[in-house]
Amino acid sequence: MKKNIVWLASYPKSGNTWCRVFLANYLSKSDEPVNINHLNIGAIFSSRQIIEDNTGFDISELTADECDELRSFAFEKWAENYDENAFVKTHDAFVTLPSGENMFPVRKTKAAVYFIRNPLDVAVSFANHLGTDPEKAAEKMCENKFCLAASKKKYNQQIRQRLLSWSGHVQSWTTQNNFPVLVVRYENILENSEREFQSILQFLNIPYNSENFIKALKYSNFENMKKAEQETGFKEKSPACKTFFKVGKSGYYKNILSENLIQKIINEHFACMKKYHYLSNSGELII
């Protein structure tokens, strides 16, 4: 059985799109930058269209739990269209169905790249994404039942995604044993994108081509992505925020979050922050 699904998984605002822009440009045969609105790099696991197209069901008649039951089948079938890596972006936590069965098509999964970012910076960026303040964003990052696209009011192109809390999300992906996972820190991409993107290519056994790599690195530079968004807009931007690519820096939270909120986030996610070197062994902030 062909195992070709590659998960590009993350809590929102953690570098997933950045990597997708890099991969889209790296795998593109064109010398021009890939249009950020037509990345053509696989799919998103919450895509209503892919689920409907590959199962035939009208999912607007189904509950969110019933939709989840279709996802594994739909994406296994979708991945058959790809010979090699079938990239799937997801913000879902790695959870199972209420029945205990897999929600993710693990038997056709090759590997996952999991992007992690300092939750203090995520809180700032996520607040912008949701069109809310950092306090509310941080609250959502602490909710074990937090979901995206759960609106009961209108049709959504994406189905509900269960995120769990920020720590719960990280643990769900990094402690499962169904397939190999490469954990990539957002801050490491900022520090040395060449090294980090190379490690992703190596992990996924994608042949290295220096010309393509240099081109992709340039086109996926944060300032270039920001400029592209200014020129053409970005369809993946949440309607609640003005721009998707806003600051992109590490440690920016220091300008925005109150001491109390910083402490609250640290208390809630202490173990995970320590494990991924956002806190020192003695619990001091590193970034």
Binding site: G56, D58, S60, T63, A74, K153, K154
Partner: protein, 300 residues
């Protein structure tokens, strides 16, 4: 003997053991029966083996776990096998959408993913993907200009003596909360289509026309990314290709009924004009869209 109810929908008279209040009661000759019974475990000569469903040219099985299994055959019979403690409303919801559409395909009809209104004794259809606003635009045109409604989600087209005809469906619309707000409707007494599915069932019986109509115009509505609504006539082979994409459950049935569909589409496209509308998502879209469509209808 089980109680049966007789209805008319999609130009077909139906005898049903399950009550379908959304359909119009009828006393005509029965063409289709809906009954409770045992659904075959699988089809012997299946052409498509999908997720919890199987299709052959004349048979269809689908299992909606944990509610019921449905068996549709020869375009004239639907058998429902409910699971223990199944909710009858859930069963009915599946029956009057995806399940009955498979029966329509088996009967050699062309079910389009479209809503529709009646304009001067002719049918005007609005084909669109889910979520674009088919139901909302038909209801808005009814409320603003008084055009009777003929379909909400599925509109059936057939050909009689090589002339295309449109059959009305049934007087019920499925609406999201934001559509209800846009249309200024009250939702406090409206039921959800199913428990935990947050779409409302809206009975539009007083505004509904039941019967057969000659088709006049088809508007294909898509979400655009411009500031204004754009409208353009679709001609030639594009017309065929665009409409083919709006055959209901086209992905599920693949090309099984391609010959029948081709025949009806060809007849239909000889008789109707087709416009593509690219709408935007600003709050005033609905009004602007209705005015644009009304202007086009009036010029026609």
């Amino acid at each position: 003997m089980a109680t049966t109810y007789t209805y008319s929908a999609f130009g077909i008279n139906i005898s049903s053991e399950i009550k379908i209040p959304e359909f119009i009661p009828s006393s005509g000759d029965i063409q289709v029966t809906v009954s409770y019974g045992e659904v075959p475990k699988k089809l012997d000569e299946k052409i498509i083996n999908g997720f919890r469903f199987q299709i052959s040219a004349d048979e269809f099985i689908i299992r909606y776990k944990p509610w019921a299994a449905f068996y549709v055959c020869n375009g004239n019979k639907i058998i429902i096998q409910p699971e223990k403690d199944a909710d009858e409303n859930d069963i009915k919801t599946f029956l009057i959408s995806s399940v009955i559409v498979m029966l329509l395909h088996q009967r050699g009809l062309l079910p389009l993913h479209a809503s529709g209104i009646k304009v001067d004794n002719k049918a005007v259809l609005f084909a669109a993907n889910a979520g674009v606003g088919k139901s909302t635009i038909a209801l808005d045109l009814n409320r603003k200009y008084g055009y009777p409604l003929i379909a909400d989600d599925v509109t059936v087209v057939s050909a009689i003596n090589n002339l295309p005809v449109v059959y009305s469906s049934f007087p019920s619309a499925k609406l999201w909360q934001d559509s209800i707000e846009m249309l200024g409707l009250l939702n406090k007494d409206l039921p959800f289509i199913r428990k935990d599915v947050f779409k409302y069932r809206f009975d539009n019986r007083p505004a509904f026309f039941s019967g057969i109509l000659e088709p006049l115009l088809i508007f294909v509505i898509e979400n655009g990314d411009k500031e204004n609504i754009e409208i353009q006539e679709i001609k030639g082979v594009d017309k065929f290709n665009v409409l083919r994409q709006h055959i209901f459950r086209a992905k599920m049935i693949n090309e099984i009924y391609a010959v029948e569909h081709f025949k009806i589409l060809t007849q239909l496209l000889k008789s109707v004009s087709c416009f593509k509308i690219l709408k935007h998502n600003n709050s005033n879209t609905l009004n602007e869209l209705s005015v644009t469509i009304q202007d086009t209808i009036k010029q026609w």
